[in-house]
Symmetry: C2
Subunit: 694 residues, 2 copies
């Protein structure tokens, strides 16, 4: 990327987006840049990707996101699926016994369920996806360390400026290879090669010769995204500290192929022993099982920190054997192990000048047992990536960027609260009876686990008002407390909001668009509607057209489409000259008439199935809520809570979150919505500059 500096000068270059850190969170940001067609670079100080161990649980919502990017199927196929949680508690004799079974994922919540797959595979899927969508232009540059970061505050509001300057240094091979923990054990504790490695990862094992080791360069970026983990260099460069504290609870983690007569070893288990601490069993792919093992023998020193170097796998495993007794537990193969001290911390700010953003472990840390870390981190960047991408491209206004901290820092706060409560219940000694006030009630634990399931699915996230979410109420209160930009469209009373939400009671504004099956009008193929909401950076208008065979309703639809098609309105104004009409905003229709009584060309205005000289009409935009031949009936209108006769209109953001709902007649409010967040041709940009017509 950087020019050679024959004269000894440090080479300099510009880039739209610089991503620091290539874990799942940084790769998610990079994936958005690839899908949006934004110029980006990704640097990571490590010289190879992760191959085993690390985070592993994938929530329903993460799978929905993977599916929107195009690799949900790969994760679903390779992963271990977790279906049931078994609770094991001390019986009246003090010996552990199974006390309960609950479904691992709440039934009906999503078309996916929680699964387990190691982080290395997920990074593989991201790398393949980024390569494909960026046409190999976005690559991870490994062994590259940032050394300084400066923001030119005078230029932060200038859309054409590159106000962030980062100095990067190429590490030598030795510097970039992480040190292995030195113990007596033969088992790796980190990112080294696992013997379960999958074939398509092999190329990454070949360490590239670092001919440029030691060389430096200067990068001028429009935006920087720091995804560089718990000890984030980027965060420290911005001068932010994590707020929060560590607990006394110390846990070990081992990925082993267990040899055991414990009957539920292939179920997710929460085991509370009477005296020896707690154990969580997470069955995984390739016969592996992950054990989270409470280490009662290890305690923090006076400074509050435990000495990790004293913890060896033998010690961890002995603890597991004590907890799971009287069952036998042994292993011959260990894939990975580590240990951690539970603590909950969150950064005070997630961004600086809306030019440098932080995501993932860089701004929140907590215990890994709930399987949230990787998910929430990736979702940070699934929230941030399209916003930065569309702003960098000049499609969206800079004011949308303030919603990132408001939306995601709030999620991090909720996560910390959840983890704090859950960790205490899980690490506590089970109560002997109702009088044992110091012990943890197993009923309370089960209750927390069940309630936590909704949170843990990632589907309870509900974003507050902003230029992107038209909601009543206080934005600071519904977010993380910080200020959020608003637009004309988003000033709405509680009554008006309730009325709008009433048009589609199954599509909560601020939450992700739920999925039910509908049929393509043109070929009768059933689709989960979410499959049509691909992560390609486009906003979507979902027109619930209702019963189009009713003349009055048809007139409403025609009138709506006429407004949509008008040259001065937002749809054409948001679309760059010469580009297809669905480049920035895609219009999808779901109608409720009988499929076989309706015809695409006859019953639907052309704006709903645009014509192209080369390809004819678009057959993939109009859907019908009707019975399929082989996959039942999605009953989408009923499930979405939409009136089958009159329908309604919904705006979904590029990340599938619902931004607005209205009647077919509320066109002016839709116009205001898009004026609030997109750069429309001929209209005023946020900063008072008039943008040239692109």
């Amino acid at each position: 990327m950087a020019e050679t500096a024959a004269n000894g000068h440090i080479p300099e270059s510009n880039i739209d987006v610089l991503i620091i850190g290539a874990g799942p969170s940084g790769l998610m940001a990079a994936a958005w840049m690839a899908h949006c067609g934004v110029k980006a670079r990704v640097v990571d100080k490590r010289n190879t990707k992760v191959f085993c161990g690390q985070a592993d649980g994938l929530q329903c919502r993460s799978l929905e996101i993977f599916d929107s990017l195009g690799f949900g199927d790969r994760a679903w196929k390779e992963a271990n699926h977790m279906l049931e949680i078994c609770m094991w508690n001390p019986g009246s004799d003090g010996v552990i016994c199974r006390s309960d079974r609950i479904p691992d994922t709440i039934v009906g919540l999503s078309r996916f369920q929680q699964i387990v797959l190691q982080q290395g595979r997920i990074e593989r899927f991201f790398l393949d996806n980024i390569k494909k969508y960026s046409k190999d232009t976005i690559k991870v540059e490994r062994g590259v360390l940032p050394e300084s970061l400066e923001i030119d505050v005078s230029k932060v509001e200038d859309d054409s400026a590159y106000p962030v300057t980062v100095k990067l240094r190429q590490l030598s091979e030795e510097e970039a290879t992480p040190k292995q923990q030195i113990t007596a054990s033969k088992v790796n504790d980190g990112i080294f090669r696992s013997n379960l490695i999958v074939e398509d990862d092999e190329d990454d094992l070949i360490k590239k010769s670092q001919s440029r080791g030691g060389s430096s360069e200067i990068v001028h970026a429009k935006y920087v995204i720091g995804c560089d983990g718990a000890r984030s260099w980027t965060r420290r460069a911005l001068g932010f500290d994590l707020d929060g504290e560590a607990t006394d609870f110390i846990w070990g983690v081992m990925d082993i192929i267990p040899i055991t007569d414990f009957p539920d070893i292939r179920m997710r288990c929460a085991i509370h022993s009477a005296e020896n601490g707690s154990l969580m069993v997470i069955p995984r792919e390739n016969k592996l099982v992950r054990l989270y093992i409470q280490l009662k023998e290890v305690t923090p020193d006076a400074s509050g920190r435990a000495d990790r170097t004293k913890i060896a796998p033998e010690l961890i495993f002995r603890s597991a054997q004590k907890i799971i007794a009287p069952y036998n537990l042994d292993y011959q193969y260990c894939d990975w192990w580590t240990a951690y001290q539970i603590g909950q911390r969150v950064a005070p700010k997630f961004e600086a000048h809306e030019r440098v953003f932080l995501a993932g472990d860089a701004v929140h840390t907590h215990s890994p047992k709930a399987g949230q870390g990787m998910n929430v981190s990736m979702q940070d960047c699934f929230n941030l990536g399209w916003k930065v991408g569309l702003v960098a491209k000049g499609v969206a206004k800079r004011s949308i960027l303030s919603s990132y901290q408001s939306e995601r820092r709030r999620v991090a706060q909720d996560l910390i609260d959840f983890d704090h409560r859950f960790s205490r219940l899980f690490s506590g000694r089970p109560a002997k009876d109702v009088m044992d006030a110091e012990g943890v009630s197993m009923e309370e634990f089960k209750d927390a686990f069940e309630k936590g399931n909704m949170f843990a699915s990632g589907l309870s996230v509900n974003y507050g008002p902003s230029t992107l979410i038209v909601k009543s109420g206080d934005a600071a209160e519904q977010g993380d407390g910080s200020k959020v930009a608003q637009s004309k469209a988003t000033q709405i009373t509680a009554d008006a909001f309730a009325k709008r939400q009433g048009l589609a009671t199954g599509i909560p504004i601020g939450m992700r668009f739920n999925s039910f099956k509908v049929l393509n009008q043109s070929d009768a193929r059933p689709w989960h509607f979410q499959e049509r909401l691909k992560a390609d950076g486009r906003f979507r208008i979902i027109l619930f057209a209702g019963n189009v065979l009713d003349a009055a309703q048809k007139a409403r639809v025609d009138k709506f489409c006429e407004a949509l098609d008008a040259p001065t309105n937002f749809l054409r104004a948001a679309t760059p000259g010469g580009a297809p009409i669905d480049s920035v905003i895609e219009v999808l229709t779901i109608h409720s008439s009988k499929r076989t009584d309706t015809e695409l060309l006859r019953d639907f205005p052309e704006i709903l199935h645009p014509f192209s000289e080369q390809h004819g009409w678009d057959y993939n935009k109009v859907f019908v809520d009707d019975v399929s031949y082989h996959e039942g009936f999605g009953d989408a209108y009923v499930n979405y809570g939409v009136d089958k006769e009159r329908g309604c209109v919904v705006i979904a953001r590029p990340d599938q979150y619902v931004g607005w709902i209205g009647e077919l007649e509320d066109f002016e409010e839709m116009q205001q919505y898009f004026e609030g967040c997109l750069v429309l041709r001929g209209t005023q940009a946020t900063n008072g500059q008039t943008l040239a017509v692109r």
Copy 2:
């Protein structure tokens, strides 16, 4: 592969299996060799794979097969799904109108439905799969032409011999490049680069330098499989001619992106015009539509053959426009086109000395419209590959090879009959009224289409008796008329057969094992049972264990397992010394007790979940017919027609076809079944030689 011949001698080498032709049929054979771990070579005279056009329809059965190999999901994801067939016939005014809609795939037949994807993609999936499972040892050698083939008849019954000698020549670049048809059109008619090419195919576009152009080698093979198409060199080397004849019907084929107001362009359509011939519409992936167009203007000459060089896409397209009028039809992009004369032909024999086998177009040709060709051709080799592979490995007896011609030539004969009837009805002029005896009744056509759907799914195949299928009746009559080897187990009366079939009325002996959802006992995950019948060359015993919580039934299961586990019986006798007990025959269990009342280690004998020192017990062999959390209830016992208390035992061949059904007490007959088809340690081999213990 061949040694360098510095001294001018032609290099010679041995190989277990030589496959001639790398189309879908040859690649299927190669896939089996990869999955079975058999040494094989694949040669093809063309210098690149197919990229566009060619065959495209995939039956349910082909998808089940792809899934058993591991790439069903890739085809399902990329393909266009066809859900509905629309019939268009002349109305009373002579203008075409929609007369009927029927589902494209019979509802409930399979977990897959018919889809459309071009042959080039299917070859890609095969190539990737072969690379993965053969660990890159089986590669297609392109630009290689066989020049002579000899069978040493004195050695054909010797298991250790290489009795087939083939001389191969490496073609020069020029020789290996197929000639493009010379017409005035700019559109390719063959295997050249399509601009819709998919990224992961790009490597194949780089033409390798043919440094060895012109060099020859001699290969000695145990077995040769000829999959070299309608003008098969292998078939001609064996001296076989195809029997059958051409009709007067001449059709054109075009893959275009249509620009049309015809309302059903994304449905599969059968259009009979009043006077201008017939048209079949097959919607495809990437906005393409394939049109099969009857060319009434072109007629065969005195010799009975049409002059294909006179047929240009303009002529074909004009015919299509006439047929589809009054609707408009146009295009800007054509991906591929060709023309063909309908004819049905089949070879008199499919093999020579059970050492050289022929498959696919090499032994049967017919019209492509029913979407059968590629499917039946691949299925030939799905039938043949494991048989040749297991015999070459010394696992199965040579006598199983006689079932290939019996089973597959019969299918070819049925296909020819089907195609003959279907082509006549489709190419004929629609009857004007009931008195119009020369015209085709549109009712009869619809009826044939609906009935043909079962045949066209590939799921009506029902193999006759052999050493592999225990059935009553005459083997020649149920097969193609040729002799088929029998064993002691397969001599069974009609009454005894009916009784056995009665144990599992939903699992027809001779047909493929149907699929319903069951749960893994150990982790509650739902699986379509067919997903557990992978194409890895293993026979499978499916133990329907019934209600294992009933003491009497448990005693039956225990007794069955004791016999299974006995050192002298077939399971251990079939397994090579030192190999895992499930290497040749895998035992899978489906029980009918409540999942949560049963436990793997407590309620099931160890032979049903074998123990390994390294990996502990096997958690993937015992399943339960119970309700799932998220995917409903498969109700497998009811659907398979098996008694929930008493169960039964089923043998499935490596290709998922059902070979035998019996009671848990019929162990001796199971023993005879495997004695009849497998090489058991210490037992006599077919040819009177005692095999050494492996």
